[in-house]
Point group: C2
Chain length 875, copies 2
């Protein structure tokens, strides 16, 4: 016979999957002799069985419940429904993974017309007993019988109005008896049966309600949102009631063993004298700080301090504890691991290692990598935020907090910056032409575009605060205003953005800077001891490179050269090169770009020192660099001194149906080898300069993008080597460099063995690899992604966390094939997945050498990589 | 010691890879006692060794050549350079795979100032001997010494002018001696050394020249074009000369053992009396038909007839023979398998089976599937074509021949057809809106677009003649004219198109129709006996379906439903559906489309009978159905009764950056399930109608496109089954149908095991699978494909022949995974590759159940499938 019911003393914390979190911890507290009211837990398996049996509690389970009830009555020496000394119980759900507020609870169960008299005698307080009975009927009516709550409220409020009471406390025992009668009538008329007087019937109905609540709508939504499996089931805890509302020596409270905001090692919590738990939650009375319990009930306080210490020592982590004091006796009702801020998480972990409670590994495993973001970006001062005026809410596209004057054009932001004016760039949406403004602004606000829009992606890359897709904001770039409802904001007006929440405020709000110091730095240093994955960064300029090094990047995994082409001083030469009708003119334009590119690389090499720098040669289709509107084309025609019609037809001839799958990446260089030749020359000349003039031994890695066929790679590898060799010969110098490729076209993964024979490294470009493997354009998927998420077609957004089942298979295959034919090949990833914890674990398991992510995700990647190493070593 | 030289009597046809085609066949003829002038062959290995040794003939090889030369002198009883009876030889290249005209030949080698006297004595003809010597110096000068030919011509022509001769034959022996002196001077001044008099030196230089010719530019280009490996090398044949120009009992000729045009079993060829081979080629004199040799040299003729019969019987295939008669003696100089037209190929194969020479398998293996196209499309009458006026040449986009009046708009073509006027649709390029005109026209001419342009793909699908990308044609649709140079063609003018050559003619040219009858039908019936692959067709309408059935299609592998949406009578409802702002309006518009769709399917089911019909639910992105120009949008707004701005913004909101990877296929149905619901209802209602009213037991297979995630499939499979079940219930009927998916997104191939658990069939959509796996948009690749082909990045165009190394791996993987989890799953292919022989062999080896191709490729597919089965059984 399967065991479906465990008395608390039979359980322990290791049985969490069977007893749920609450049940397991109650049992555990019992085990270590803490004062826990008696009770028992019905297992999650019983819940699942209930659904298997077609929403029926089987006889077997009922028998076990009844047996445990008998034991409970023996232990408490009370009897359910007893007219003298009745046993009252709470019935609480308790899932394996906490789902706060998602499921139902019934208190004071066991009260009926008879036992309420017993409670009266016992407490010598008729009003108290009647109030309990009244509350029980109401809660039972709501939770178990599913009668709308307002019907009960109407009776209660009616009585109060008739009597002229302002507060519930003015109700007398007689009033309450009258209300109870009213409640009973509601039950009869709503359900067609009387309020159940038989306590066992009450109990069974309550258990069934808890089982049922596992699949109520909000619970399902919550599980979907939090990625909790639907087949876990909930346990049910039946526990003898204790009352915090039995007078001035009773009370109830909640406390953390350490401060969950700061991590300070000091009890932190609140309590209320003469109150039940629901009173704390309801917030009618202001609770007192836990320290004050010392004055109110000194013995109880000391006992609670001891219990807290014992609990934390036992669980070896900060605990979140619920307790009740009944007439001077302390009872523990719940303990669990306390949720904490990132700051507290880091401090608690470090402190506990210092205290010798846990080791470094455990400390590392306790910090959620995704939380670290909070520690890297400025936030608003909490006090200042309280008085701020909220204007609108968009998507929290890139974390941080920023205040500044509104500007609508990149050039204006640049001008403002020159005058040391802080600015916010506000646009309908951003495009590559806005890059400089984005760099110089404190924050970016767009009215269109999602979490993967240009603004969002670029801002996250820069670690810059961004609120995207804020539909309430109507931007009129031409007139340099935006509207929110009837309000109009002009250029130069102050606004503030919170990139963590997506909120937009009016005026200036003070921010607090944070950084990689103290405990945070310590934790990341520990992470470095355990991780085996290298951590590089995606950076295209010296500033980002410096930031990344500060955050611990060990190299650049992806330096996109196209971003360098957009700045005002060179875009004209780029366009000249594109528009050139023959190779001679093209080379002429490229020659003008060479000094700029060389400067770019010198800047980056200086920032990175001897760390490897992986430079991707030009990737985007050329039309991305050209204007598309007639007036812009006309202006460009004038600038370039060419005919408008000729230029327009050139622009048109370059336009593509599917640019994603078009003339880009290495395909550009097969057609126009001179572009890559210029870039390689710039890289090598920069490297030689750094080596000879600055005495920096740089390690450039030259990466050819979008390879799908071996021959593409061999042709361009030869071009790279020939160009480099020639350049070095001319300069009479030597530089060590590597040549490798992106794996981003599915075919490349399939023939990785062939390519690996020629390539010194692979870098998985999982952004494009995902787009092609899934046949999913990131730019277009917004139109149907909502529906896909709603219908759960994806487990997760494949652009956020790598699609292990699909794209992951290709990555695995490519790694295996690649290493087979070239055991020394270096394998890395440079898609945005490189900064996402689950994807990092995948990369660790796949055996990549490194991940590369945006500078502000480097600390997250370091921690994630350590966790992956620890987790997968233990397994 | 490796054997680098084989006397003819030492070789045989099986040594072709060593002796080359010519050498092996000379040896073989010798073996079966045919009159072959003595000689020997230097192997292809010697050629390769020559390159290995840095373009030097090794001593070892020289020794073997000299030894064979001694033997040759013994056999012929002549001596190289002899003053009385000199041995003269030809030096000819002979590759393993014939490369006609690509490499060099030297005749009359061995002549010098001394031996020319010997030749004079021997032939008693001083003029003849001097002419041979003159020719030899000229040929040797050109081929071996690489002196420009015109220099020799200048001497010859100068002499003729001085003497006032009109023809070479007027030159006397003395004239020729003078010319020889002139030639020798050219050699001395050009090369700095005298013309080599030592015959062995001549021979070695000639052999080296032949080796060198293996890697001359035109040979390399030829091999690239014909996909011949570059490492085969060429053999060199040294053969004792015979002379067809020794008077009226001498001659030379070329003959086929059967007619290479018609296949008729009758000697077919030409000869010239008193001539050498080069005279036949030069075309100065008109050759006589081979029959006439009977009158000229009756004994020689009878001997040749016997030899031809013996050769064909020995080789068991039609032979292409070169021969020379020297003073009444017949000599065989070459035999090889004769090239033939498709018609002849079929007839010869069938005849030879009837004659008991070969069996059916061999007959099938001898017909090139790609040739069959010729037998399925009309061609111009050869006589009529001779007098036709060529206007321009475009790409031979879709085979066939067509004449008709020029129309520029689909609607005009339709009107012309109604009046029984044959028409040619001429457009800059076609779009889906032109479909009806394309159906009703005899042929299609476009000035833009390549072999995979819309016009080309659709025309091939229809088996309709199409010349695409004819740049010389400047189309002005608005004014209904086109220009070619200065000529203007108006609407209603007659033109003719040859889809096999891409040629455009003025006026009307008579065509000949061909069909699947007689020997052709017989061969295909044999193919059906051997093939294991099923052959289906891609057809979207009853006409195509009927054509395909006539050609032997066993079902429809892909019925694209979107083409049905474009015709004038329904496109408005389609647009109404797309523009609908809510589900109610959308369903209303879909309800109007339902009867049309039902009619479509009834028509197709009627054509296909009980054969399976695989219907793909709507696939393209919705914006493909909408107009994009302001004036068209405006017209549509009026038609639909909506506001222009609203419609325009709808059109814009649907536009996509990468439509290929956008909101299409099953993604449409996840968002708008009602579209597929309508289609499924139409399919089921049509099936029920056919079953109940027409007594046809139809077998619809409902295919969900673009699936990449399991959940997409399960959601839509449920929708299909629910809709079908409800429809059948309403009609109180039963219909057996299948539900499956396209595998066209790479991810689908990677998770084929998951999908196969739910799907009854997979159909590989290799067009899209190729685009996504290679990251290659077909619409855009034109811009760089040229460069890719030139630089040999591809072995073959991956859109023509399946990329076995990349896409093929995915297909293989998906088949294996799919069968693992669903052993009864049906696997097919419906990309354009389904009609390409190499791809069909791949499908056979992969174990697919069927291939599906356009109707006109069904016969090709049947034959290819048979060949694949035969080839892979034998291996």
């Amino acid at each position: 016979m399967k065991k479906f019911v465990y008395a608390f003393e039979e359980g322990c914390k290791e049985l969490k999957s069977l007893l749920g979190g609450k049940g397991a911890n109650l049992a555990e507290m019992k085990k270590i002799d803490l004062p826990v009211p008696e009770g028992f837990t019905i297992t999650t398996e019983a819940c699942n069985q209930y659904y298997v049996d077609g929403k029926k509690i089987s006889d077997e389970i009922i028998t076990q419940i009844e047996a445990n009830l008998v034991l409970l009555e023996e232990k408490t020496q009370k009897k359910l429904g007893d007219a003298n000394d009745p046993l009252l119980v709470s019935v609480r759900s308790g899932a394996v993974i906490s789902m706060p507020g998602m499921m139902d609870t019934v208190l004071n169960l066991g009260l009926n017309d008879l036992s309420v008299e017993g409670l009266t005698k016992l407490t010598e307080n008729r009003r108290f007993a009647m109030d309990c009975y009244r509350r029980f009927i109401q809660m039972f009516g709501d939770v178990v019988l599913e009668i709308p709550k307002y019907k009960f409220d109407k009776v209660l409020d009616g009585k109060k109005e008739i009597c002229g009471y302002e507060s519930d406390t003015q109700l007398t025992a007689a009033d309450l008896e009258e209300i109870i009668e009213g409640y009973k009538k509601i039950v009869s008329s709503e359900k067609g049966f009387d309020f159940p007087q038989e306590p066992k019937e009450q109990l069974m109905m309550a258990i069934e309600a808890v089982f049922g609540s596992w699949n109520n709508e909000r619970a399902i939504v919550y599980r979907n949102y939090n990625e909790i499996p639907h087949n876990l089931g909930t346990a049910v805890n039946i526990q003898s009631m204790v009352f915090g509302n039995m007078g001035m020596t009773s009370g109830t409270g909640v406390a953390f063993t350490r401060n969950p905001s700061t991590g300070e090692n000091k009890l932190f919590g609140e309590f209320l004298i003469n109150a039940q738990g629901e009173d704390v939650v309801a917030g009618i009375r202001t609770p007192q700080k836990i320290d004050e319990l010392k004055d109110a009930l000194p013995e109880v306080y000391q006992q609670f301090v001891d219990v807290s210490a014992k609990l934390e020592a036992h669980y070896r982590d900060m605990q979140d504890i619920e307790f009740t004091v009944e007439r001077g006796s302390l009872y523990m009702l719940q303990t669990r691991t306390g949720k904490r801020t990132a700051y507290a998480a880091v401090k608690v972990a470090v402190d506990m290692v210092d205290e010798g409670v846990i080791d470094k590994k455990e400390a590392l495993m306790r910090i959620a990598p995704s939380q670290l973001d909070q520690l890297l970006h400025p936030t608003f001062e909490p006090a200042a935020l309280e008085s701020a005026h909220l204007l609108a809410k968009g998507l929290p596209a890139s974390p941080g907090a920023a205040s500044g004057k509104v500007y609508f054009h990149s050039a204006d932001v640049v001008k403002a910056r020159e005058q040391k004016v802080k600015s916010i760039l506000v646009r309908t949406e951003t495009s590559p032409e806005d890059i400089e403004g984005m760099v110089k602004a404190e924050g970016i606000l767009t009215s269109r575009g999602g979490m993967t829009s240009h603004a969002a992606v670029v801002a996250r890359g820069m670690g810059k605060c961004c609120v995207a897709g804020c539909g309430e904001v109507k931007v009129d770039e031409e007139n340099r205003i935006f509207r929110i409802g009837d309000q109009i904001f002009k250029e130069g007006d102050y606004i503030s953005l919170d990139g963590n929440t997506g909120k937009v405020y009016s005026g200036e709000i003070k921010t607090v800077e944070v950084g990689l110091t103290g405990d945070f730095a310590k934790v990341l240093a520990w992470a470095d001891e355990f991780r085996t994955l290298g951590i590089r960064t995606n950076a295209d300029n010296p500033l980002d490179s410096e930031t990344a090094v500060k955050f611990g990047a060990e190299g650049i995994g992806l330096c996109r050269t196209e971003h360098m082409f957009f700045s005002d001083d060179r875009i004209l030469n780029v366009r000249e090169m594109i528009v050139a009708s023959n190779k001679v003119d093209r080379v002429k334009a490229l020659d003008k770009l060479l000094p700029y590119q060389k400067e770019d690389f010198i800047g980056i090499f200086k920032a990175m020192g001897s760390r490897p720098v992986n430079i991707r040669l030009l990737d985007p289709p050329l039309h991305e660099f050209l204007p598309h509107k007639d007036e812009e084309i006309s202006a460009l025609a004038t600038d370039l001194g060419v005919d408008f019609e000729v230029l327009k037809s050139k622009v048109e001839s370059l336009s593509e149906f599917n640019p994603m799958l078009g003339h880009r990446g290495c395909r550009l260089a097969i057609t126009y080898p001179e572009i890559y030749e210029m870039q390689v020359r710039a890289i090598i000349e920069a490297a030689v300069y750094c080596k000879e003039e600055l005495k920096i031994e740089v390690h450039p890695e030259i990466m050819i993008p979008l390879v799908g066929h071996l021959k593409e790679f061999t042709i361009l590898k030869k071009l790279v080597i020939d160009t480099a060799t020639e350049t070095l010969k001319t300069l009479n110098a030597e530089v060590v460099y590597k040549v490798g490729t992106m794996i981003e076209v599915p075919r490349a993964a399939l023939i990785a063995d062939e390519i690996a024979k020629e390539a010194e490294f692979f870098s998985f470009g999982t952004n494009d690899l995902t787009q092609m493997t899934l046949g999913f354009s990131r730019d277009d998927s917004g139109k149907f992604l909502d529906e896909y998420v709603k219908k759960e077609v994806f487990d997760k957004d494949p652009f956020e966390s790598i699609d292990q089942n699909g794209v992951g298979k290709l990555v695995n295959m490519a790694c295996e094939l690649g290493r087979q034919s070239n055991p020394t090949i270096k394998l890395g990833i440079c898609g945005e997945h490189g900064g996402e914890p689950k994807s990092i674990e995948f990369c660790h398991k796949t055996g990549l050498n490194y991940v590369s992510c945006s500078p502000f995700r480097v600390p997250i990647a370091r921690l994630s990589a350590a966790q992956a190493a620890i987790k997968n070593k233990d397994q």
